[in-house]
């Protein structure tokens, strides 16, 4: 992607922590804009890195968990608007970029930009190592604050997801360069974690750290393989197709390899993008949702029961349950809009969910699904 630097210099350093009475900057005029592809423009103030950027603009309704969200590879290439208005309150923890960090979901910030109503210059928390803005500067991710994120969310909700740019000019043309997002976030070679008696081959389409840690804590060895790697060739006891960014149809190699994995008859688990990959691998269909699910409050009903789980979600595509592949049935269904939230095979040990049982951020109510999967190995 083309990255240009701004002509004008960055403003002076932001006020640091601990000053007696100036935690917030002076009352600046607007100096940054979010311009959408339909021409709608929002004005605000810049924080984080100062560079123009473009991406698909999406929103998330979670009220906590920005360090986890920003490092979730599923957000690759996106400009994320947070509907909760106060962001940055508790700063960001240490261990950024550490392998399998417990505080972050990967070693990078995947956002193209961050849009908030109010960025809190002052942060305080015992785990905080620095302010969010400092991290964004290091990661070269621009932020814009002072935006009516509710108005933006309603706009995206009614017009559908669209591209946008963060810039210092009130208007701009918005063109998204083509990208293969999954290949940008996947590992480039096979990595091994842990030494448990059972081995899971984890196909990394943009895997979150907590998925790996959830497997490791259940006494498995994890072989993390690139998105286009044929894991069926490995001596694994089961396969997990991870979450990841973008349209599942862009992952043709993964879909083909998933077919092979299913053919082994070994246990298979899919999460988020993995749910869609498995459906496509066995002949199902996916489609783009009008309103993507991005929040920590999505109710998912366990099919055939009165039980419902509150889940963390982040996806723009869904599996079409009208045309499920033979042998598969819906496992979970979204209580709000009736879309598919998980599949399972009637006779074979294949299961997958559209939501995030690993949470991070979000509710941990479905963590037991990792128990169910590892019990099958």
């Amino acid at each position: 992607m083309r990255r240009e630097t701004l002509e004008r210099p960055c403003p002076g350093a932001l006020p640091s922590q601990g000053r007696a009475l100036s935690p917030e900057p002076p009352f600046d005029a607007p100096d940054a804009y979010l311009v959408l592809e339909d021409g709608t423009s929002f004005q605000g103030r810049s924080f984080g890195a100062r560079r123009p950027s473009c991406g698909e603009v999406v929103f998330n309704t979670g009220m906590v968990g920005y360090p986890e969200s920003f490092t979730d590879p599923s957000y690759r290439g996106q400009i994320l608007a947070l509907t909760y208005p106060l962001i940055g309150n508790y700063g960001v923890p240490a261990e950024f970029a550490a392998e399998l960090s417990t505080f972050y979901e990967s070693g990078r910030i995947h956002l193209e930009g961050l849009v908030v109503s109010e960025y809190s210059q002052y942060h305080h928390h015992w785990t905080a190592a620095r302010g969010l803005s400092d991290l964004l500067v290091e990661a070269e991710v621009p932020g814009i604050e002072g935006i009516d994120t509710r108005a933006l969310t309603k706009h995206l909700r009614s017009r559908g997801p669209m591209a946008g740019v963060i810039t210092d000019k009130p208007s701009a043309s918005v063109v998204l360069p083509p990208r293969h997002l999954v290949s940008e976030v996947s590992v480039s070679e096979v990595k091994s974690y842990g030494d448990g008696p059972k081995t899971v081959a984890l196909v990394d389409c943009g895997c979150k750290n907590t998925i790996i840690r959830s497997l490791l804590s259940r006494k498995t060895r994890v072989l993390r393989v690139p998105w286009d790697f044929d894991a069926s060739a490995l001596d694994a006891d089961g396969f997990l197709f991870s979450n990841g960014p973008g349209d599942p149809l862009d992952c043709k190699a993964t879909i083909d390899n998933a077919k092979k994995a299913l053919a082994t008859g070994k246990p298979v688990f899919g999460i988020c993008l993995g749910n869609q990959i498995l459906a496509l691998a066995d002949g199902g269909r996916t489609y783009k949702l009008k309103f993507g699910h991005r929040g920590q409050n999505q109710p998912c009903r366990l099919e055939g029961t009165q039980r419902c789980f509150i889940t963390s979600q982040n996806h723009g595509y869904a599996v079409d349950t009208e045309r499920l592949p033979d042998g598969w049935e819906p496992w979970f269904t979204n209580l709000n809009d009736g879309t598919n939230e998980g599949l399972r095979h009637r006779s074979k040990p294949y299961m997958s969910v559209q939501f995030h049982p690993e949470a991070m951020p979000g509710p941990v109510d479905t963590g037991h699904l990792f128990d169910e999967f590892t019990a099958l190995l």
Partner: protein, 1063 residues
């Protein structure tokens, strides 16, 4: 399981500190929910001012005490097959648990719906609670139970000081407190053990955060958390005394979801079905936690969570109690999704308690783990600063927010920050503004630095405004408005007028935007009508309706003198207008109300009741007019300014309202009408005041316009008292004059509540006070219809009312208060609005005066009311509820200042029956077995003599303070003499009170002085501290004994409201 056919719902009784309007909200929603499911409802609640006891809610209403004895009798009559215990606060819960333990429920075949009693007991009994949580590895504070002071001392020594003392089954943290050493522990444990058999001594978690989760679980084990909340104040300050923010602001994802998961585990393990609140302590240094409390019922916090999120917790909990699941219930806000989800907020709310400690001389101002606040407000905003400053204005305590609070300043700011009082937030602001660093303030207050940084932002803007010109720059003004500055605050800081700031805003196009509260942060389209205003936005969510609505202003924060009765008035106004086919926009900011249930009106603005905000709402909604006369005095106060700004006032004109409110104008009007009034004068020096007082004769009622400390009103018996009060407690000058009026002794007080149409009275109800004039009308025992008022007095009252109504062209509700002595009637006060007693007289007489008033104000034709209030064949008696037990140090006596926090009213076939029921409902215990008498001056001793004889005849054991005992003995009565408290020893009056066994203390103070720390004060305080019913008024004392005597051996009649009042 099958649906129950008839369900008994227990209410919470009178509003009191720790148990207030939130239970009208929860009970009303529960009853509505049961009706929706086709289940018949029977309600027991003596609080006549509530909405839940109105027509259209429960099928049968019993205005009876919520005690096992009375409720047992209702059960026998009504034969319900289900009971709800968790919607009427601790009162209902305790009553229900007692009925269950005694086997009454089982024998009557009544199923406890929702959370089972065993689970309730798990949460209420501290030992069981701790061991149940330990079963699943959930941490609670280290604690030991103790049933004696010695055991408590041993436990504290083991745990290590400081420790907390708590008692089981207590509402609002009663009797709990922090003990830093053994002497404090001995005192607190002694007081607490007077109320309970057991106290808990617990580790004190200094500086830990307090966090709460509201959890809902259904019978198939679906479990969600609807809201989490974070207290701004650290642990150790009761959550009812704390500023509370929702959602939490300083918790990370890990902390938020770890505590959420624990809450769900706890609720599942305990087997809650319905709603439950889990309170945590969270260590800000390590993230360690303790579960400090679980409330297995609807609570103040759940009411707040409901209003904060739009999720109708009480309604959902009621449906879950009927065995529905969360998947069966619709999301009432979106009407498109289900109740099984967790609201996502795209705003935050700040709850701030409202205290009225100034009304109580001598009360301790520090706030701690016991509750003292009497109400609360909730402010919605998209910045913390905005919500906080809005909230402070909503309190209606004279503060415009944090900035510009010139009237509140502190000499020792650091000490004020360290030792929390009701004004600490202002001290924090002053400290930060005047140069204290955030870490320094955090160290003193244990408030999270993040909150302090936000408060510092406000100070920064105030300074910038003050340093700049009279006309702030556009950026600065935008910033100030975004941080919640009102136009008045901006004007105050930059030396301009509010009007100039408003004009500048209008020129620059700076205005607030209307946002919806939709439970899901705009993710899906929602039909919600639940709204607020914010400057942190750029788009309105809603447009005005094509048909202009009626604007109705609510009551704001509950406070002494204005509480649930005005919510009843608002709700009934709105219902009436909607029945007439009109659209209604309601503005209110009190989360413990029914009027702020978004399904009550067409559009609800959870907003300030200030001129600036109401005008902004008018600009957006373009109402055809505004009704200000049903929300109490605060709404009424806006009349003149709104009318000047061009808003049409529905009802009596603003000019007439001003004429009734302005003492000079009203006095002139009465003179013109030839109506008597107690002589009064407005004076600007102490010398003039003394001259006037001597001229009209003492005693005089003194009302300074500028109060320095203590009560705003006082009665002076002589020159020295007058001087002392005016010199010490007030400022007297031409700018701050004092009003003196002749205080008439021995006069009866009567009130007329009514509705007039263009100056003609359509309906009115006369109420008589049991106590002589001099007791605030809000603290008086009121009787309808009058029992002891001369016909001539009635005739005069009606004549005067007619003339006043005509002269003021009253068009809507009104209330006039009269003094009557020897058939001479004078007017004390006239309110051109609904009064505190409107629900009482409406419900007793079966004529809804508010419905009538609402129709009149909209010029709707009204038929004359059916029932003549004088010809009912029963009596209604309203009795005040005091909360002196919680107000440590306050003198529990009746005076010209109102002190009660709530009221009840009961019906009976005669006065005595209704009176005794009402007294029982506010905590009096009958039959009387042992009574302590201290009947004051000689004349009242003589006055009480027949009553003392009657008590003796009933076989009541009498104790008397030295003078009283000597007097009664001389009259041949058998009285045990006890010593004065100050004389010490084992036989003092207060020792007898604390030892238990005394059912009633009668202590008649010598006069209306409230400044003395006397023996009398010690006796009254002992009664309050040890929960013994106390009477300080001679008329009331006599009527109690008279009633007890007449009703001996007679059982009270158990009859539903619908059986008394046949309309």
């Amino acid at each position: 399981m099958t649906l129950p056919k008839k369900v008994l719902v227990l209410g919470s009784g009178a509003l009191k500190i720790g148990e207030a309007g939130e239970f009208d909200y929860s009970g009303s929603q529960a009853i509505k929910a049961l009706k929706e499911e086709g289940v018949a409802t029977v309600l027991v609640n003596p609080n006549i001012a509530t909405n839940q006891t109105s027509e259209g809610f429960a099928d049968r209403v019993y205005f009876l005490p919520v005690t096992p004895a009375y409720v047992g009798q209702v059960i026998e009559r009504e034969r319900p097959d289900g009971i709800l215990l968790s919607f009427g606060g601790q009162t209902a819960l305790n009553c229900g648990v007692a009925l269950s333990r005694s086997g009454v429920l089982e024998r009557a075949g009544i199923r406890v719906l929702g959370t089972p009693v065993s689970a309730i007991e798990d949460t209420e009994d501290r030992d069981r609670f701790v061991s149940r949580l330990r079963e699943i590895g959930v941490l609670t504070p280290r604690s030991r139970a103790a049933s004696s002071v010695e055991e408590a001392r041993a436990a504290a020594a083991e745990i290590g000081y400081p420790v907390m003392i708590r008692i089981a089954y207590a509402l609002g943290g009663l009797g709990s407190g922090l003990c830093t050493d053994e002497s404090e522990l001995t005192a607190r444990a002694g007081a607490a053990l007077a109320h309970a058999e057991q106290v808990l001594v617990e580790e004190f978690l200094l500086g830990w955060k307090e966090v709460e989760y509201e959890v809902v679980r259904d019978r198939v084990d679906n479990c969600i958390t609807v809201c989490n909340m974070e207290n701004l104040d650290p642990l150790g300050i009761h959550t009812g005394e704390s500023i509370v923010v929702a959602p939490s602001q300083t918790l990370t994802n890990e902390e938020y979801h770890r505590l959420r998961a624990i809450a769900i585990r706890v609720v599942r393990h305990l087997g809650i079905v319905g709603e439950c609140n889990v309170q945590y302590a969270l260590d800000p240094r390590t993230g360690d936690y303790r579960v400090i409390e679980v409330n297995a019922r609807l609570s103040r916090s759940s009411a707040l969570a409901s209003k904060a999120t739009g999720y109708p917790l009480a309604s959902v909990a009621a449906k879950l109690a009927l065995d529905k699941t969360l998947l069966d219930i619709d999301n009432a806000v979106t009407r498109a999704t289900k109740a099984c989800f967790e609201p996502a907020l795209d705003y935050l709310v700040v709850k701030i308690p409202r205290w009225d400690l100034k009304k109580f001389p001598k009360v301790t101002k520090t706030i701690d783990s016991g509750m003292k606040s009497v109400g609360e407000v909730m402010a919605v905003g998209r910045t913390f600063e905005e919500a906080l400053q809005k909230g402070l204005r909503m309190l209606d305590i004279g503060a415009d927010g944090l900035a510009g609070g010139a009237d509140i300043s502190f000499e020792d700011v650091a000490e004020e920050i360290r030792r929390p009082t009701d004004e600490r937030i202002f001290a924090v602001y002053q400290g930060l503004r005047d140069g204290m660093t955030i870490p320094a303030v955090a160290e003193l207050s244990h408030i999270d630095p993040w909150f302090l940084a936000k408060i510092a932002n406000i100070a920064l803007v105030e300074k910038s405004l003050a340093q700049g010109s009279r006309e702030p720059s556009e950026q600065l003004l935008r910033r100030a408005k975004r941080l919640g500055f009102s136009d008045r605050q901006v004007a105050g800081a930059c030396g301009a007028t509010p009007a100039a700031v408003a004009a500048l805003r209008s020129r620059l196009g700076i205005r607030p935007f209307v946002k919806q509260i939709d439970t899901l942060a705009a993710e899906y389209p929602a039909k919600t009508n639940y709204l607020y205003l914010t400057y942190a936005g750029s788009e309105d969510d809603v447009q005005p309706e094509p048909r202009p609505p009626v604007l109705v202003l609510g009551s704001g924060a509950y406070r002494i003198g204005s509480s649930v009765e005005f919510d009843w008035c608002c709700v009934n106004t709105v219902k009436t207008l909607r029945r007439l086919g009109l659209g209604v926009v309601l503005v209110n900011c009190n989360p413990e109300t029914v009027s702020t249930d978004f399904d009550e009106c067409d559009r609800l603005y959870f907003e300030e009741l200030t001129l600036e905000t109401v005008l902004e709402i008018c600009e957006r909604e373009r109402p055809l007019g505004a009704i200000l006369s049903v929300g109490g005095q605060s709404a009424n106060n806006l009349a003149l300014a709104l009318a000047k700004a061009g808003v049409r006032i529905l009802g009596t004109t603003a000019e007439s309202i001003d004429m009734a409110e302005d003492r000079h104008k009203f006095s002139q009007l009465l003179d013109r009408l030839g109506v008597a009034q107690p002589p009064w004068s407005e004076l600007s020096t102490i010398e003039e005041a003394a001259l006037f007082a001597r001229r009209v004769g003492y005693p005089v009622l003194v009302r300074p316009s500028y109060v320095l400390s203590g009560a705003a009103m006082a009665v002076a018996m002589d020159d020295s008292e007058l001087r002392r009060f005016l010199e010490k407690a007030a400022r007297v000058s031409p700018e701050h004059p004092v009003v003196l009026s002749k205080f008439i002794l021995g006069a009866k007080e009567v009130e007329l509540d009514g509705v007039a149409r263009q100056g003609e009275i359509l309906a009115s109800v006369l109420t008589e006070h049991v106590e002589n004039a001099g007791v605030h009308s809000g603290d008086a025992t009121m009787v309808v219809p009058p029992q002891r008022t001369y016909l001539e007095t009635v005739r005069q009252v009606q004549g005067i009312a007619g003339r006043v109504a005509k002269a003021l062209a009253i068009h809507g509700p009104f209330n006039i208060q009269f003094l009557a002595k020897d058939n001479e009637v004078s007017v004390i006060e006239c309110n051109l609005r609904a009064s505190r007693s409107f629900p009482f007289v409406s419900k007793v007489c079966g004529t809804n005066l508010i419905e009538l008033a609402a129709k009149v104000m909209l010029d709707w034709p009204v038929p004359p009311p059916k029932q003549d209030p004088f010809h009912v064949d029963y009596v209604g008696v309203k009795a005040p509820q005091f909360s002196f037990t919680r107000l440590k140090g306050a003198d529990p006596t009746l005076s010209v200042e109102m002190a009660s926090t709530g009221e009840v009213a009961c019906l009976g076939d005669d006065f005595e029956e209704a009176f005794l029921k009402a007294l029982t409902a506010v905590g009096f215990r009958f039959p009387l077995k042992k009574v302590l008498l201290s009947t004051g001056p000689q004349e009242s001793k003589a006055d009480f003599l027949p009553s003392a004889r009657a008590l003796a005849e009933l076989g009541v054991e009498l104790l008397g303070t030295p003078g009283t005992a000597a007097y009664l003995k001389a009259q041949g009565l058998d009285v045990k003499a006890v010593d004065w408290p100050l004389s010490g020893g084992d036989n003092t009056a207060d020792r007898h009170i604390s030892a238990g066994g005394v059912d009633l203390v009668v202590n008649i103070p010598k006069d209306y002085r409230t400044e003395e720390l006397t023996n009398g004060y010690r006796i009254r305080r002992a009664a309050a501290d040890f929960g013994v019913p106390l009477v300080t008024n001679i008329q009331q004392a006599k009527r109690i004994v008279e009633s007890v005597f007449r009703k001996r051996a007679k059982e009270p009649v158990i009859k539903a409201w619908q059986e008394y009042v046949r309309t």
